[in-house]
Structure formats: C-alpha cells, structure tokens
Amino acid sequence: MPKTHPDEKLLEKFSRGKLSRRENIKISWHLYNCAACRKDVEKLAPPGSELVESLFSGLQPQELVESPTYERALSFGQSTLEVRGEARDRDRSRAPKLFAELMRHPVSRQRSLIERTWRFKNYVFGEFLLDQSHQAVTDDPARAEDLATLGLVVAEQLEGTHYGPALVNDLKARAWAAIGKARTVSTDLRSADEAFQKADDFFAQGTDDILLKAWILIRKGALRREQRRFEEADVLLEEALGIYREAGEDHLAGMALLSQAKVEEEAGRPEKAIALVKDARKLIDGEREPRLLGCAASLQVSCLADLGRYDEAKKLLPELRKLASEAGADTDALRNLWLEGKVALGMNKLEEAERLFARMRNEFVERGIAYDAALASLDLALVYAQQGRTSEMRQLAEEMLPIFRSRDVHREATAALLVFQNAAKAENVTLKLVRDIAAYLREARNNPSLAYQQAS
C-alpha cells in the first residue's frame, strides 16, 4: 500500500472531475496502486458512474500491501532454477552429440531439420553452433557463416518459448554478429555491415548483457579495420577493452588489445602495434584460446619485420612455430611461412626466402586462395628481381595470370598483375615495380574499386 494517500477533499474533486489534467493523472496513478482509496472514490462518485472501473478498463489495478511476503515467489524462483538449471546442464552435455548428428546431413537440409526437430530447439545448442562458427571463421568463413545462420535458426525457433524475448534476442544478436564476422573475413564488407546493424537492433531488445556488447564491438571493430575506417575501429575496440577490464575478464581484454594492435598495424603504425601486442600477450590465456597467442606472436613478428628489425623478428620465429603447432592451426602455420620468408628476405637470405615464398604460393594456389597466391608470387618476384633472374620472372608472370583470372581476384587487381606480366615479358621488372604492385594489392584487397596507378 502506498505510504501516503490523498485526502478526502481531493478524492471528492477527482470523482466530480474538478481537477486539472496533471492532478487527475497523479490521483489516477495512486488509485491504480491503492485498493483502499479506490473504494473511497467509488463511494464518492455519482451513483452508477463506476468511475474506477471505467478509468482502468482493460487494466488490472494492483493492491500494494505494506509488508508483502515474497516467500512464495522466492520458492518459485528456486524451483525454476532447479528445473531450468538441470535442463540447461542436460542440453549442454548433449550439444556436441547433437552437433555431430546435424552435421551428418547436407547443409541444405540442416535448417529444416532444426525447424522440425524439438531436440535442436534449445538455447545451449544455439550457443554451441555459434561457438563452432567462431572456431571455423579464420580458416573457413563460408562454413562459419553457415554455422552462425543455423544458430540464428535455433534462436528463431525459441521465440515465444519459456526463454523469454530478451534472452532470445541476445542469441539473435550474437548470431548476426557471428554472420557479420564471417562476412568480414570473406571480405564481403557491405553484407557484413548489414549483419552488424541487425546484431545491434537485437542487442537493443536483449538482456543488456555487457559482455555480449563487448563481443559485438570487437567484431564490428574488425569490420571497420577491414574497411580502413581505423579511427572508428579504435573507438569500438577501446569501448570493448573498457568493458572487459571492468568485468575482470583479462583474457578477453587481451583479445581486445590484440585487435587494437591489428588496427595500428594496418594503419601503418607498427611500433604502436608492437607495444599493444606485448600488453595483450600478458593477458591472453593460452589454455582458453591457444590460437590467440599464436596470432599475437605472428603480429609482433610482422611489425618487427616492417620496421626492419629482422634480428628481433628472427628470435621470435621458433616460438611462432611452436604456438601454431600447439594450436593445430594449419592456416596459421601456412601464414607463418610467409613471415619467415619476409624475415629471410630482409636478412638477405635469398635462397631461404625463395624456398618459403614458393611453398606458400603453391599452397595458396592448391587451396584456391588466389589473392594470397598473387601476393606470395610477388614476394617471390622480389627475390628474382634482386638476383636479376629474368627468365624465372617471366615464367612466374605467365603462370600467375590464368589462375587469377579464374578466381576471386577483382578486375583492378588483375590489371595490376597484367602490368607486372608485361614488364616481365619485356625483362623490365624492377624491385620498385614489384613493391608498388604488392602494396597496391594489399590495399585494394577489400576495396575492389581502387585503381592501380603505375608510378612514373
């Protein structure tokens, strides 16, 4: 029951409709919450007017009692916890088996299977699919997007169930952010942006889970980095870092620092990137996410090489190999070869650099990753150019173009490679030309409209 009540005079004026609009609302709100005053008003109102009933039609006024007892509610909360907690534990232990079952079916059937089968329709399984998407995203973004989409399907199936709309919206937000991340890695940046817009919309209708917010911010930051909107990326990542620090989530704070370091590297500030990587490595928990430590070490080596600090970079190479092998990440090991080649080239160990770049190039061609194969070929061309090996250069150029024309290399990039091929034919390739084309390809990777302009 409210602690103070309007006096009888005021209630009488109210019942006769003699109060201002503001006073009317104030008294009505009181009546809505106070059964005793509602009774008084009914007595004061003109006979047959049924003032209260007509005022609150469609609403259920409540009696606020002075010392309510919540014993029943607390017991209900406890029994909810028992029932739902056990269901959650059960769903958790079943999720890997269910996942294996789902994956036995072709992708085209997986969606309808989730829609038709009750055992797939639980929150934990939706989260499990999104965890799998997270693990797949670096090596196979297309599969990561499929998995995240399945997570979204699970979330959609949970609408109107006992999970409540806020929790379901959290799952949808997470699924859209995972889709956005997969599209970012696939360099489908416009659709990635759309996915993050949906993630933000669902997050706004969710449980206000601050860690989920940071999780989305980190992924959105990566998108902004790929879009070369470095300042925006930094703002998003800084916010995520603050959330993780405040929540005492050291490992995740390390991940945010590492993302910031990548932004600095892409923005051409390798020294700043190195400082951030060093801080990140102190926080990252290698047991929780072994691959992340490898990413940190590889970024550090790359930045040191960019700064020409090849001796320091070389010292880190054994650790880099060890971390990649411990994480069992095949693609990371492959990309590390590139770094090793870069360091070898910087230290003028041309034979070693040639061996590494050639291996890289062949691996990328074999896997159909044409753009990276183009970049590895140009690194190999740098070695040939330094040694004046014009015939190998010509052969390399002849082999390059057909592959790139048939794969995912955009028109402007192919045009740049054509410039290289013509120069190789004319035995006119210089170190500067190779470096210019490689720098252009790196910048144009996510910007297909960027035209290559040959320096005079």
């Binding site: 009505s28 609403l59 509610a73 406890q78 907690g85 534990d89």
Partner: protein, 89 residues
C-alpha cells in the same frame, strides 16, 4: 563468446540460496506486488543461468538482473496505465 569454465546448476543453486535474503530485500525495496514477484524472479533466474557462466560474481549478476526486472516492471506498469488513462481523461 569464448566460453569460460561452465558452472553446473548445483553451483547456481548454492548462490541462489545465499542470495535469497537480498532478493527479498530487492523486491521489498521496489514494492513489487507479491502476485507479480514470482514472474519477475522466474525471468531473472532464467536469464541468470544462461548468462552466469561468464560472470565473475554470479551473485551480483543475479541481484542486478532482478533489480532490472523490477525497474522494468514499474516502467511497463506506468506506461500501460498512462495509455489507458490518457484515453479516458
């Protein structure tokens, strides 16, 4: 999100029992009608068990979830009241 160690439901049960008095206080402070309190607690508990794995202090998360539910209860109640009364006045 990269999963931290999962907590099983017995850990949640222990935290809930320890926080019971605090939960009672929160409901009292927000003057939640007894008939509505069960539904609010149910929502808070369900969100808590699916989000609590990531929380460093699960007890504080449960209390904060219930506080949010209580605040939301009054916002919704006031809104539906205003909509109904605006039509009448």
């Amino acid at each position: 999100m990269q999963a931290a160690k999962h907590k099983d439901s017995s850990q949640f049960r222990k935290v809930f029992l320890e926080a019971r008095d605090d939960l009672d206080q929160i409901l009292r402070r927000y003057e939640i009608p007894a008939a509505e309190a069960g539904a609010l607690l149910e929502e808070a508990v369900v969100e808590w068990i699916y989000k609590g794995d990531h929380a460093e202090d699960p007890s504080s998360l449960l209390r904060s979830k219930l506080r949010k539910k209580c605040r939301r209860y009054w916002v919704d109640r006031r809104r539906s009241f205003m909509e109904a009364v605006e039509r009448k006045l």
